[in-house]
Symmetry: D2
Subunit: 230 residues, 4 copies
């Protein structure tokens, strides 16, 4: 199925280690089922700034920004949203709820930078913002499933598969992929639609995800899978 | 607190990216609370083979083995177990339950190699095996919390903190650390007591964990933290 | 749909109160979806004794027994199991796991009688016992979902509906029905296949369940619903 | 400990059945631990109307109202809130989130009346309304734990016990008590601070809760327990 042999983690995870994973029987193909939902996770201005800039520059706007890494993901997410809407499939928006007094726990102890984002940062990036009937899932922790009714919503929607986009690859995307797989949903992560601060961590997280929790493919491959062309 | 400036991910995650994380306010110090439990995750022969060998060699015994990477973690785990027992603190063993018919879901679709481990592989490694009164937590998925009553056990034990050891760093250790942090437990991962197949993935997962979910320290540092010496 | 106007709670919940529930818009019809699984909950000898006897007599065998109330439920459960197996639908057995040291928590503090059941009591009642390929779900608490991977199993099985049988009506049956409804499964409780110690509590719990969480019908009605005849 | 021998379920659950529960070893005393939080569940105008009226009358304001049954619970809740605030203990408000498109699932199929409450009905009853620093827990289902981060909040707050007030006894109060017990919190339900539509269902649910999931005492007894006087 894979046309291009080049994977995001090539050159970072050594070939010898990739070979060990293959020999261990990791990295099987999961595929999609009969009905998928699209998750657009945390694509709020806090994660990419108001316009595409190098990350160090963008972090002056929002300390939590991934800068231009985030903006590069927008066109693929736009295509996926469009493809899902065209087929009447659910588009779901897990998002970072603004932090209050009761969020000062272990999560923010490790990431105090999360506590200082101004209100504008919590708004959805306009290009991929939800429509009135879309499901919004405010969340406090990394995974879109943790402490939310998302698992119930998915049963209600009758979906058996999820396509994941958004940020960060090593945080909420990975946490959500791990939980979605544990719930036995078929999971696809769109590699050109997820983003992070560190490009090494981004690539290695895609490697981990691809070998354990989800198929990692491009937005266009995900659209093709969803259309049953693959 | 950190004596040695050398971290497991140095040389793998570039300094420039590490600087971005620091500037973003990630990597805060979480510490331990008043009462910790020790988790020994998946230290079964399936994860390290019957004796220390290079991983490729060890995988001939068990396809899921991390080989000598696992055996190197044993002495630190032994010291931690001993320290916890000496203070009457709980030692908990989440472990991989043998796979049956109903485990053929999304999890094993991505990791078909998990389905072919012989029964001996599920036995605990003798050096760190549970004692009769220890809590065993059979699990089907990565996180020791997912689909198990572990959260209830921790409330019952009156603990507010967890020290995590075992394998794999990028799988069950990370999944457990992410969930433990989401439940607001204070979490420490003992870096010399966790192991994996890929050393790049191992290091980058420790980097991710250290900056988002748990303090990453050595076994001896964890013992010192637990004794309130730090 | 209801042929017989007589409901299990008639004569216990006053008509005036039943009228209030109706006026409040409670007690809607949920129905079944496209694919149901059958849950046989805790039908172990500990819950009904070795043979049908009045409850006070049967409790001399097992203090947790519901006696002949349990045995009366067996024929309906047998018919439901047979109907589900005939259509290739899943039959799932949540059951009470034998109690150990780590079960001495809030649950057993309220119910110390749970701690003294001999091993034979944990065996499945022969007439409705699982077959080798059935899913077993050991559980520590009331709901079959709490601290178990049942939610994941249901996604894997592709079911959207549950038919619930077993015991006790006011304990594990109700807890499971509440959670199943919260997960957005369509739920049916077979009123002649669930049982309890107190007949008042049994009836009122069926009233609560029928108005809030599940359709409450007879085994034969459930079979007819499942066959799409209703 | 019990001064008054009269229990809310006397005259509804026959003495012979109460004797069976006692003989079965149900109804143990759980007590409180070292640090409790108070839960005020769903005390919104939708549950009692704007002023005390007979339930049938009050339901003309809000179809979901319990009328004067609710208003009778207010003084005890006020006293409990005051006692908890005086000792610096957490007061937590799980509440019914206004219903939207995505709440049309199994829960509301059984209770279509939940879908037509006007916005004013979701406001907190003034006498017991939250203060700015109190934790609010919006919820979609019955239990305050289901699909919410409440379990994480409790760990963060360092509590080991919960005192439950609010409504309805047979719905969200019971669902929350069952889950709190399953998480191994010590649970107390204040019998004069919880309310429901049906007085039979109210009483039998208190019976069930008292014998399986929580101590059922008056507000004043709960305050005394919390002050360590009992």
């Amino acid at each position: 199925m894979r046309n291009s042999p080049k994977r995001p983690w090539d050159g970072i995870v050594p070939e010898s280690e990739q070979a060990l994973y293959k020999a261990a029987g990791l990295g099987g193909r999961g595929g999609l089922g009969k009905r998928a939902a699209l998750l657009v996770i945390d694509v709020q201005y806090r994660s990419m700034g108001e316009s595409p800039k190098p990350i160090a520059e963008s972090m002056k706007e929002y300390g939590t920004s991934c800068g231009e890494h985030g903006w590069r993901a927008v066109p693929g997410i736009v295509r996926l949203i469009s493809a899902f809407r065209a087929r009447g499939l659910p588009v779901i928006y897990p998002y970072v709820a603004p932090k209050g007094l009761h969020h000062r726990g272990s999560f923010t102890a490790k990431m105090p930078g999360l506590l200082t984002v101004p209100p504008r940062g919590y708004e959805f990036v306009r290009e991929v913002a939800p429509q009135p009937d879309d499901l919004l899932v405010p969340k406090v922790h990394a995974s879109a499933f943790f402490g939310t009714p998302l698992a119930s919503n998915l049963v209600n929607m009758g979906v058996d598969s999820l396509v994941i986009t958004g940020c960060t690859t090593s945080g909420c995307v990975r946490g959500t992929a791990v939980d979605a797989n544990a719930y036995n949903y078929k999971v696809v992560v769109a590699e050109d639609c997820v983003y992070d601060r560190s490009q090494v961590s981004h690539a290695v997280n895609l490697f981990d995800i691809a070998h354990k929790y989800a198929d990692v493919v491009t937005a266009d491959e995900a659209i093709a899978m969803q259309e049953g062309l693959q």
